[in-house]
Structure formats: C-alpha cells, structure tokens
Amino acid sequence: MKVAVLQFPGSNCDQDALKALREDVGVQAEYVWHNDGSLSGFDAVFVPGGFSYGDYLRCGAMASRSAIMQETIRFANEGRPVIGACNGFQILTESGLLPGALLKNEKQKFVCKNVELEAVNQTSIWTSGVNKTISLPIAHGEGRYVIDTDGLKRLQDQNQIAFRYVENPNGSVDNIAGVVNEKGNVLGLMPHPERATKELLGGNDGLLILRALSLVNA
C-alpha cells in the first residue's frame, strides 16, 4: 500500500499526514505536487488540510481544478480509496467527488478543539473499523456542511453520512461531520484523523479510520 499525500500551495497538514501514515499507520506514503505529480504507482490518495491557493474564491475551489485533482477524480471513479480532511474535504466537494459544500461556521468563529463523533455509516472501507464514538481534533473556520433537502435525503437513504458531531460546533446540517460517496471509497470529513494517531498527540482514534489503508490489499 502506497499513499499519495497531495500538496498544493498552502497545504499545511501534508507533513502531519505523511508522518502519521508512515509511522503510525505503517504504510508507504509520498508527497505528490499538484501540477507535475502523477498517481501512477499509488494505491490511495490523502488530500490534506490547509488553505490551498489561499482559499481564493472559495475554500478548495482552485485546488479542485488542478491537474492532480483531475487525476484523483479518475482514480476515485475506479473505486480506489481517497480521503480528504478539512481543506481536503472542501476540495473533494468542490471537485464534485462528494455532494454538498462547506460554508463559514454559523457563529463566524474559527473552532479549534477536540470533538466527539458518532460513526453513522459503518460499512464503507473508511468507517467499517469505527465501532464506537470517537474523539478527533477540528480546526476550521469554514466547516458548516450544507446540502439541499433532496441531497440530504439521498445521503440519509443511501447511508452516506460517515460521521455526525455529538455536539454541533459549526452549524452543519443534520450534525454532519463527514460523508462518503455512493461507492464508499471516497471519504471527506472536517475533523483531522491524521492529528490523532498516537497517545502523545492526545489520542489515537484517527487510526480507526486510517487503518483502512493498511487493510486494503494492494
């Protein structure tokens, strides 16, 4: 298993992700730069958090139109595992790989704390190992998940809600913290699993999500 950690100008969780994947999940991981990189030889993609392209226009808007994201869309459509956390989640919704969008937090405040998450979908590759309420850090100003009424119903009916906040920190509709695509191979979430992979970091619940990468045969 070799994971591509995408890098855009303004990514800032790329190093955390690479280190967590290599040291704590125990898989191979390499950076892939946004405009000259390739996913050839990789088995999964991690889209890290940060402020890609300065969050110009909208969070994730510019990054989602980059060359590496066009390749990531093809990669995801082949059913291969893709995860995006925080700005990575915003990039995945902007690219159309995941439904909905992320707006400024309801209370306009940047929230930075640990939150409790209830695992809703427990069948996707990303969530099947999460069998309890987990605690992960969040750090975002634009994490309010929105989707229209029909879209929300589809998410609920098709079991695409991956995680719900136990206490809603940002005004997200239906307390949604993360969603998966229809096939379940693409996960986007505002919390940071890569920042919770060992006790030294204050907890290791992130491994329950990321260990999917060490279980996939590749």
Binding site: L57, A61, T93, A101, K107, Q108, R144, I147, D148
Partner: protein, 77 residues
C-alpha cells in the same frame, strides 16, 4: 477591451453568517433600519470578446459553485 462584471451571491435559503454579523454591527452603529445584509462577490473580467455562452461556462465551472451560489453578469463596454 470589453469588460464583464460577474456577481456571485449565496443562495437565499442559506445562512450568510458574515452578513448576519455585519447586520448586527450596522445596527450597533445606529443604522436600525437595516434588517439584513448579504455579502457576495463582484468579479471583473477583461475579455478579448464577449461570448455569453462562454461567460456562463466560466461562472458554472469556476467562478460560482452552483451547489451554494447564484450568479449574474453584465457586459460593460
């Protein structure tokens, strides 16, 4: 060279939390007549030639996110 003004606004059904904060700030400054503020974007384009279909395409593909935003535009000169 022709210029185009593109206006991008959050869909009316969505809460504009920044607009709400500005509403409250204006009211605190004594502008009690203000009931609501919604903040959008104004984007100036300078183009070789105006082709409305292509301007719409730019809006749909990048300048606005149809999931959350509406757009309109006007051609100037």
């Amino acid at each position: 060279m022709p210029r185009v003004r593109v206006y991008v606004t959050l869909k009316p059904a969505l809460l504009d939390s920044a607009g709400r904060t500005v509403t409250s700030s204006l009211q605190h400054l004594g502008f009690e007549e203000v009931n609501d503020v919604r903040i959008g974007k104004l984007i100036h384009l300078e183009v070789e030639k105006v082709e409305e279909a292509r301007i719409k395409e730019m809006c749909q593909k990048l300048l606005a996110n149809p999931v959350i935003e509406d757009f309109s535009y006007e051609v100037i000169g």
